[in-house]
């Protein structure tokens, strides 16, 4: 059945223009609601405390001051927090890319006894809510002797079930012919994985990179339970302690907002660089 084709070369009717403008207006209004808080964040971080209290809505400081940033970088442990977050995030991201693709490939392509049970176990594990793990992970980290160390912060995060799931799904969608060819040419399993299949997996790898970066940069509860010394505090834990404040200091909003702003910049950069990847991916990308 052929549908009648309308030649829409003529000007759209007034009604359609009105409909479209309403659509745009609504979208722009909502976009403003979504963006405005971040603009306020940036603007307030350059205000004085009194200015921030007196005029919370304005985007232009009465006097632009970098006092908050100075205090943050020169008078607090903020640089240490940033360093720790960076170290953990980079190592965890690299680790996850490697281990998740390894396991995902094995589950997708390699045949071995227990594969199905393993996959079922993976799904079961994915469904355990992370709050149940707060206390016991602390106990295990303690028991293993890696409490209050970089190892304790990094090792438990090195692989995640969701990432393995994504990689497995992706590998299953690749045609087998290339691998078969490589195998027939005599390549070993790891060689096939590393040199043939992995380069083809770039879209999925980028997804894993984005998710891992985001997940470990923004992680909080794991760092609460795995560290106690001030040298190992990460950005999330540090800014959280700033937010709860100390007795004799005032509310210090410009300082806190400056910290929040700087904390957001790296993820924002990763986001904007890989934007198309995220918004076009139809894999279940989930914010943890």
């Amino acid at each position: 059945m052929s549908s009648p084709t309308l030649h829409r070369r003529e000007q759209p009717s007034g009604r359609i223009i009105l409909g479209r403008s309403v659509l745009y207006a609504a979208l722009i209004a909502i976009a403003v609601v979504y963006i405005f808080p971040f603009l306020i964040d940036l603007a307030t971080s350059f205000k004085t405390e009194a200015d921030a209290a007196a005029d919370p809505l304005s985007l232009v400081p009465a006097t632009i001051t970098t006092a908050a940033y100075e205090k943050l970088f020169l008078n607090s442990d903020f640089p240490i927090w940033f360093k720790n977050s960076a170290i953990v995030t980079i190592v965890v991201t690299l680790g996850r890319v490697f281990f998740d693709s390894l396991a995902g490939y094995a589950l997708a392509r390699l045949h071995f006894r227990g594969r199905n049970a393993m996959f079922a176990g993976l799904i079961a594990v994915m469904s355990v809510p992370s709050v149940v793990l707060l206390i016991p992970k602390f106990l295990v980290i303690n028991q293993l002797g890696i409490y209050d160390s970089y190892a304790g912060m990094i090792i438990p995060l090195l692989t995640d079930a969701a990432g393995i799931f994504i990689m497995k799904n992706f590998f299953e969608s690749i045609p087998q012919s290339v691998e078969e060819q490589a195998r027939i040419d005599g390549a070993g399993t790891f060689r096939v994985f590393w040199s043939v299949v992995l380069p083809m997996a770039r879209p999925a790898l980028i997804t894993i990179i984005i998710l891992s970066f985001q997940g470990s940069w923004n992680e909080l509860s794991h760092f609460i339970i795995s560290t106690q010394s001030p040298d190992l505090t990460t950005l999330t834990k540090g800014v959280a302690s700033l937010a709860s404040g100390q007795l004799s200091q005032g509310t210090q909003y410009p300082l806190k907002l400056a910290a929040a702003a700087i904390m957001t910049i790296p993820v924002a950069i990763v986001f904007f660089v890989f934007q198309k990847r995220i918004t076009n991916s139809s894999d279940g990308s989930v914010k943890e």
Partner: protein
């Protein structure tokens, strides 16, 4: 002519097994890191916590030491019926979180769906910009957003300033413990005040989230609607356009098209979004830890934060573990409930009749949404 399935020639089979010989070993090797890490840091902790929740371990030494006693369900019964502070705190935490879930999940799903439909229109220019704008809050850390929220929802902050432009005096958001469904009434009718569940009067249960909790509800919608919007957009783009044309031809209006044709086809994505939303909302912790730590008046206390507080601050490890497992059970129950509610029930005969075309035997167009592949459940 019947075809006999072709047996692989012996030489071929042998060669296949020759190539695949190392596979089993590689398979185990490749998955070894995953097994070790997930086993150590996911499976074993859960078992350990289970033991701690049945024990009286006080926090020093190993939980498996000989001095640690097995107390059966004592920790659980203290939380569910002990009559003391433990039960009241647990009841309060459950109440707060239940209202949070009740408000956040439908609202964030609706907002996400609404945004997805709006942004998905073909005629829209600047789609990328809008998608980015709506998704950006999801990328940020909950700590950063909570700090921002503490500033915006201050009693003299941006939100109250905005409200004053329309003549409304905003409440002292994060410091106001009154329930929003109480509408300012301080004490309720006697029968509601006196009957309690889990140590909390029914009047409080019906009061809804506190004003402080409502600020967190808005925070949740702000930060997660973007992620789910993307899921909906992906699903919308996979929809088959023919069904829409057919519906349009049948005279369905825009709203009817959406409700009767689009939505049923989005069922699996809807299921995913609702499940993820439920699981996420029942575990809210980061925002409470950063922002209010349970204040004001314990109205932002949640089971996850209570579990942390009981264990790490009050040294009640058994109780903290018990709270965590009770929460686990609740999450599983809610997920199953939601799955049952959303499952594809058989279309009732009455409905079916509406779609029956006249003068054709049995030709029925029923919206069963079978154009998708069954989602992981």
């Amino acid at each position: 002519m019947t075809t006999i399935p072709r047996q692989p020639r012996l030489s071929e089979r042998r060669r296949a097994s020759g190539i695949r010989r190392g596979e089993a070993a590689s398979g185990w090797l490749f998955t070894a890191p995953m097994l070790v890490l997930l086993g150590l840091f996911l499976v074993i902790p859960v078992l350990m916590a289970l033991w701690v929740s049945f024990s009286d371990w006080s926090g020093r030494g190993s939980p498996f030491a000989g001095s640690v006693g097995f107390v059966g369900f004592d920790n659980y019964s203290a939380l569910l019926g002990g009559g003391g502070l433990a039960e009241q705190d647990f009841g309060t935490a459950l109440k707060n979180n239940a209202w949070y879930v009740l408000l956040v999940v439908p609202l964030q799903t609706a907002v996400a769906l609404f945004l997805a439909v709006m942004v998905n229109r073909q005629i829209l220019k600047g789609r990328g910009f809008f998608r980015t704008a709506f998704y950006f809050p999801s990328v940020t850390s909950s700590v950063a957003i909570t700090v921002l929220w503490l500033f915006l929802f201050n009693s003299t902050g941006a939100v109250n300033k905005l409200l004053s432009f329309i003549g409304v005096t905003g409440p002292n958001w994060f410091n106001d413990p009154s329930g929003i469904f109480h509408f300012g009434v301080a004490t309720g009718p006697a029968f509601l005040e006196n009957s309690t569940a889990l140590g909390i009067p029914l009047w409080d249960w019906l009061g809804g989230p506190s004003v402080a909790m409502s600020a967190f509800v808005l925070l949740a919608i702000f930060t997660t609607s973007g992620t789910f919007m993307l899921l909906f957009i992906a699903a919308l783009q996979n929809l088959n356009g023919e069904v829409f044309e057919a519906a349009e031809m049948d005279g369905a209006s825009g709203w009817q098209r959406f409700w009767r044709v689009t939505l049923p086809q989005l069922r699996p994505t809807l299921f995913t979004v609702l499940t993820l939303g439920l699981i996420g909302c029942w575990q809210v912790f980061d925002q409470i830890y950063t922002g209010t730590k349970g204040a004001p008046g314990k109205t932002t206390l949640t089971p996850a934060y209570l579990s942390y507080q009981a264990a790490f601050q009050d040294q009640q490890w058994g109780q903290g573990a018990a709270i965590a497992f009770l929460l686990f059970v609740i999450i599983v129950l809610f997920t199953l409930l939601q799955r049952w509610v959303l499952s594809e029930k058989k279309v009732s005969k009455r409905r079916l009749r509406a779609y029956r075309l006249p003068e054709t035997e049995g030709a029925v167009v029923a919206p069963t949404g079978s154009l998708h592949k069954e989602d992981r459940s």
